[in-house]
Symmetry: C2
């Protein structure tokens, strides 16, 4: 039976994915400095092997034959998603995939060495190589999928997402934020003039922060039997659903950034841990894509973790672990602090979308060839000035060199962050509509009902529908920026 052959095929691919995922996590957390070259070589070879197996001609035959077999509804959905994934993967020949892996890993390594000194001249040629490669890739994908090149790239990260829907939403959001940000900053200044920020004690040992973080992870539902928390330079959530590898980084003079980072990654981890286990090796059993993934992390970090109600539960834990003795009035101004800045990953929820929309606009121009890498510092600066009133012209390290995405060959990925923020607000509103007690529950540290909704409407759906369809089925409507805008107005307005 062809369906059974496809099941074995998915299991073999699953093993390679498992290996690549753990090797990637290991590279960031445990690899010896001199091990990078061999690791890059091994991962490139395994990726090529994965790609060759995934795109083998037999698979198409098996899919076609399986369509004629008697299948359960879930099997039909799995088959459809496998076909979608197969078509996406057969856009690119194996040798291109290996070349891309090598080019982007080397460019990423160069980025790591050039970034600390902001050495744009050393880095730019590598980025040019990546951009030229990405133009090739976008063209190949567009051809096969019958999509515009940028949509064809986004399709990998969020099936069903299209600039035609996203650009108007981003345009509305940007227009709102450019007006709202100065007003919100002024309101904050007024509040802080009346009651200045309470200084942090500035002595937070890593071990205590870790214990606090793990208690929070468990409280919001993370299963420590199927995951762990360690340290890396750039926090991420990797590993596999049965063993989710979360990482964070700590500063000892401050605790909120690590704690919020942990809550963020916990959101990703909850999604992974609660995917349907029986379908783990089929594409339909995997997380839907980047923007829904980000909606899950931002749901925990922003909708829960920065909700004043949450801090009724969380503040006593902070006191216990870090020996602080804070009131809500001391803490919330820290949790809700907003400011203009150059760095996306340090941005708050008001300014963050402006960083993302800038990248969304620029990467479309880079791919279209209406902008070249050598013009990037000026283009970046102009947009930063227009939306955030900040110049980065003399500081490429904190301008176009700040992110790993482009050097590592991820184009079409950035919008997911802000789409995730919008979806998280829309999901929260859907929950609050049917469960008016949600804030009281969270204030008591009871996350069972909020997680039940997410399990039923997001986690268990995995990749059984497109990104816009999952959002629509869960919340009853298409992507609507009004919820996020209302959320910001309520939390940061006057």
């Amino acid at each position: 039976m062809s369906y059974a052959k496809l099941d074995a095929h998915c299991r073999a691919l699953g093993a390679l994915e498992h290996a690549l995922s753990i090797l990637g996590t290991d590279e960031a957390t445990n690899m010896a400095p001199g091990g990078g070259e061999e690791r890059a070589e091994a991962m490139a070879t395994l990726s090529g092997m994965y790609h060759r197996q995934a795109t083998d001609g037999h698979v198409r035959d098996w899919i076609e034959t399986a369509k004629t077999e008697v299948l359960e509804p879930q099997q039909k959905i799995a088959l459809g998603e496998l076909e979608r994934s197969y078509i996406n993967m057969t856009c690119l020949p194996s040798d291109f995939v290996e070349r891309k892996m090598r080019t982007s890993m080397r460019s990423e390594q160069l980025w790591r060495s050039a970034r600390p000194n902001g050495d744009w001249q050393a880095f730019a040629p590598a980025l040019e190589g990546v951009v030229s490669m990405m133009r090739e890739e976008a063209a190949m994908r567009a051809e096969v999928l019958g999509l515009a090149p940028y949509d064809a790239l986004m399709e990998q990260f969020d099936p069903g997402n299209r600039t035609a829907q996203i650009t108007p939403v981003f345009t509305e959001l940007k227009a709102f934020l450019v007006d709202f940000l100065p007003a919100a900053l002024a309101a904050q200044e007024e509040r802080l003039a009346k009651r200045p920020l309470k200084a942090l004690s500035g002595d937070y040992p890593v071990e205590r922060q870790k214990a606090l973080g793990i208690e929070m992870m468990k409280a919001v539902g993370f299963d420590m039997n199927h995951g762990s928390l360690s340290i890396s330079d750039h926090p991420f959530c990797g590993g596999v659903p049965s063993d989710v590898r979360m990482t964070t980084r700590y500063r000892t003079d401050e605790f909120l950034s690590a704690l919020m980072g942990i809550l963020h990654e916990t959101g990703h981890g909850l999604y992974e841990q609660n995917l349907p286990k029986d379908w783990a090796h089929w594409p339909s059993g995997k997380a839907r894509g980047m923007s829904i993934h980000e909606s899950q992390s931002l749901f925990v970090e922003k909708q829960i973790g920065r909700n004043p109600a949450f801090w009724n539960f969380a503040l006593p834990l902070v006191d216990t672990h870090l020996q602080e003795n804070w009131t809500m009035e001391d803490l919330l101004p820290h949790v809700h602090l907003i400011k203009r800045g150059k760095i996306r990953v340090d941005a708050d929820e008001v300014t963050y979308p402006l960083h993302v929309i800038l990248r969304y606009e620029i990467e479309q121009e880079l791919l279209a060839g209406t902008l070249e890498v050598k013009e990037l510092p000026e283009a970046w600066d102009a947009k930063m000035q227009a939306s955030l009133g900040i110049s980065t012209l003399d500081d490429p390290k904190n301008g176009p060199m700040q992110d790993v995405h482009w050097p590592s060959g991820s184009f079409g990925y950035f919008p997911s962050y802000t789409l995730g923020a919008l979806m998280a607000a829309q999901q929260w509103a859907a929950i609050a509509r049917i469960n008016p007690e949600v804030e009281r529950q969270i204030a008591e540290g009871d996350f069972s009902q909020v997680n039940e909704w997410r399990r039923d409407n997001i986690w268990s759906k995995a990749s059984t529908a497109s990104t816009p369809d999952i959002l629509r089925q869960a919340t009853g409507e298409d992507l609507n920026p009004a919820y996020f805008i209302a959320h910001l107005q309520a939390r940061y307005g006057q």
Copy 2:
């Protein structure tokens, strides 16, 4: 050109080996407890994939054609070793390899859960399954290789090792030790009566022990740019030559066991790090086998690390890191302490070979079917009583349940430990013959010449000759227990 095809073939296999090796290390050091089942599944699938690729029929054709091509001498050796490895691997069908991986991983997991309570009844059926599978395997290997079944198993671990050579050596060694052990214990008792063991302070924080360990690793030549030291329940040296993963475990009431463990694993690590890099992906560029590997670890641990000369260099470092204030007369009796015990891994260099010879004898009987698993506790006890004067009948946890080897399907591996000890003594004697200054150099912390000999004669040879041939080329003679016996007499005699 077929040789070029084989080069690409070896590179693909190298990537899978890299993945399996890092996944194995990760399992022992970083995996979440609930991640075991998926990991076992992924590793079994990858092993099957490795085996299918390694044993593909094309490989035989390429090897045959490559033999007719114009090759450099090193390429001819590489081709010969690849053929040897190919024949060893084609002894077993892919489905048997996957079944073995699953059976042994599950049996190992059962062993891990049953061992703490010494639950022999729960564990024995799993071991019976493994033994029956190993009889199948030995028969299949023997058939193809034209060797006796046990020799065919040893051939995987140490090409060229045969019971015909080893049994007489072990018989001589066992006869010597059964007499020597009581005499050495009596001599020790006499010394300790005159000058009792100085008690340890018993307060050795893990971080300080780790710093001391890393300083020792670097001193004897370990490259920290291509390796690291972490913690696991069972110390091992894993990873890949470009990123050697050493582990140890610490007790805070005692420091010598961790330090000696680190020196031992450093010996393994030095071998891996100094293999010829250009041949890393070919079988001829890999470490020769288990007994030469063990000769390298025991060389560092016993020939160097327990040599009084070494402690002239090492003692001040212990003082610095652990704030001890010991003299050589305080320390050496700890370093050279011998005693009878049930546990192989806790044994000293005098008693260790008796533990190994016991297993060598028993596993041959298990495979031949002259002993069954249900008779194992009695057989073990009888041999322990005869050679070490200890009974394990009421303590299976510390009897036949103590080692991971059999539950994980490693038969024919145990002799390597003692063969390694014999070879290390033989290598040390060869060095001392041509370099009478070796002890003075070591006393000064200068390991350059001793490492140069090892690089030239062992490390750089990798798998370019059989185990007995490498020993013979390096030391000028066949395996000779006289060096090890003389070493024990000099260090532990009256």
